[in-house]
């Protein structure tokens, strides 16, 4: 791990209006993600884990605080264009967010065709097959529509789609939620593969503890809008903070 963190969150605050009142979801989140590591954020549902991920990739702007990627501020209007940073990041959405109107192959090729117009259709096809193989999907399924795929296959296809743009940073939003244990294990292995084979930096959000223990280099816990714990999985097990104990036990 190099000295300067790849992603730095500094005192991030974010509120959303809810029933006419402002509900403060993030109350000063500070977090560093080091180059090459897999950092897992755990926390209760509705606690703001997805909101953190969306700040990292510029989909949301904080009310206060700062997001830096490779030292560059992406959270303020006068910071670098979030677009230029986004090209190097990929995100796996909770519901996969595949393009429903396109078949599996098109889902992978669409963005690549736009961003790399120099590639021929044959090269795009080759790239698509390569990415499908990376996530252990058969190239035969490239003509299927997303709604013909199982939940686990959708997650893998979404990962293949993100990989097609060759990101250095991958953000995963609950990659194993709603999957059976076997399929969840397959996804966990893929997350590990991405780190080991491709050297990507991963930020994973989950409330699946077995998965967190399996893939994490470090685990951070979000509780009431703040990071109350950050450390190795072993340190988490040994922690005697009450919210951590309560969460890890369930």
């Amino acid at each position: 791990m190099s000295a300067s963190p790849l992603i730095q969150l500094r005192d991030l605050r974010k509120s959303f209006p809810s029933n006419g009142k402002e509900q403060e979801v993030l109350r000063g989140v500070t977090l560093d993600v080091a180059r090459g590591e897999t950092l897992v954020i755990i926390g209760a549902s509705g606690g703001g884990k997805s909101v953190i991920l969306k700040h990292c990739i510029g989909l949301l702007k904080p009310d206060a605080g700062e997001v830096r990627v490779e030292g560059k501020v992406i959270s303020s209007p006068d910071g670098v264009d979030a677009q230029t940073i986004r090209r190097r990041m990929g995100m796996l959405f909770q519901g996969s967010a595949l393009f429903d109107s396109m078949n599996a192959g098109e889902n992978i090729k669409f963005a690549v065709r736009e961003h790399r117009p120099e590639l021929s259709e044959a090269q795009l096809d080759a790239l698509m097959r390569e990415k499908l193989q990376l996530v252990h999907l058969s190239p035969d399924m490239s003509s299927k529509l997303p709604n013909e795929l199982s939940g686990g296959m959708k997650k893998r296809l979404a990962l293949a789609r993100a990989l097609a743009l060759e990101p250095e940073i991958l953000l995963y939003d609950e990659p194993t939620t709603g999957l059976d244990p076997v399929t969840a294990g397959v996804i966990d292995d893929l997350v590990l593969d991405m780190q080991r084979q491709l050297g990507v930096t991963s930020l994973v959000v989950t409330h699946d503890m077995p998965s967190a223990h399996k893939i994490a280099d470090r685990i951070a816990m979000l509780h009431e809008g703040k990071i109350i714990f950050i450390g190795t999985p072993e340190a988490l097990r040994a922690s005697d903070l009450p919210p951590v104990r309560a969460f890890v036990r369930v």
């Binding site: 969306k54 989909l59 677009q83 990929g90 995100m91 959405f93 519901g95 669409f110 963005a111 789609r161």
Partner: protein, 273 residues
Amino acid sequence: MPSPQEHARREEAPGAPLSRFLNGLGALALGPVERLGESVLLFLAILRRLPFLFRGPGLLLEQIARMGVASIPLVLVISVFIGAVTAVQARYQFHGLIPDTYLGTAIAKFVIIESGPVLTALVLAGRVGAAIAAEIGTLKEKEELDAMTVMDLDPLRYLALPRLLAGFIAVPLLVVFSCLCALIGGWLVARFSFGLTSQAYVQGTRFLFSGYDVWVGLVKAVCFGGVVAFTGFQEGLRAGAGARGVGQAAMKAVVSACVWILVLDFLIIFMLY
């Protein structure tokens, strides 16, 4: 004598509702202004993507087919009936005042300037505008819009621009088709119900026919087409969470498109005649 301060304090209680009322009134006036400003900015942002059209007209053609071609049967049916109703009404209103030979004149005038563009647009607000709002609202709900943004695929370019242009193009074509169908509907009634000869009907439609009316009808159709597609897209973007949010977005798209169509109809007529 109470001091001014005391006076002010005593006034505070009865004055508070008034100031709250005035604040509310201000917000009521500001809300629409703010929303209108938002709409103008979004509209301009979409138009700025126009150069991308030449890179991929496929998306536009697909939308024209979905909006335009698929609406033909509906427009055909309503337009024939509009023409027929206009014929019956014109005869009833003018009976004894104007000879039936002018029936075609009344129908052609009314259909080309008013009922063709307005009724077609209102029906398309329900068919096309609601569909766009529901589709975009669902894409938002399922995070497909976020996924596009994350992959640096601009939703305004890929989703908004083709839909808006398809509205500008398909609706005028449908309006022309609608006018022809309405004239045929009027002819059916005039010929078979009122016993007017086809020749008399056609001569009637030609009498007082002006190219300017056709232009006005087309100007309206272009504006209405833009309104239907744009409000559909904007309400889809604003959609709240869940199935309910999507349903409400579709409803709002239809309502605001209908209001805008009628307001613009008045403004255009007012300015062009």
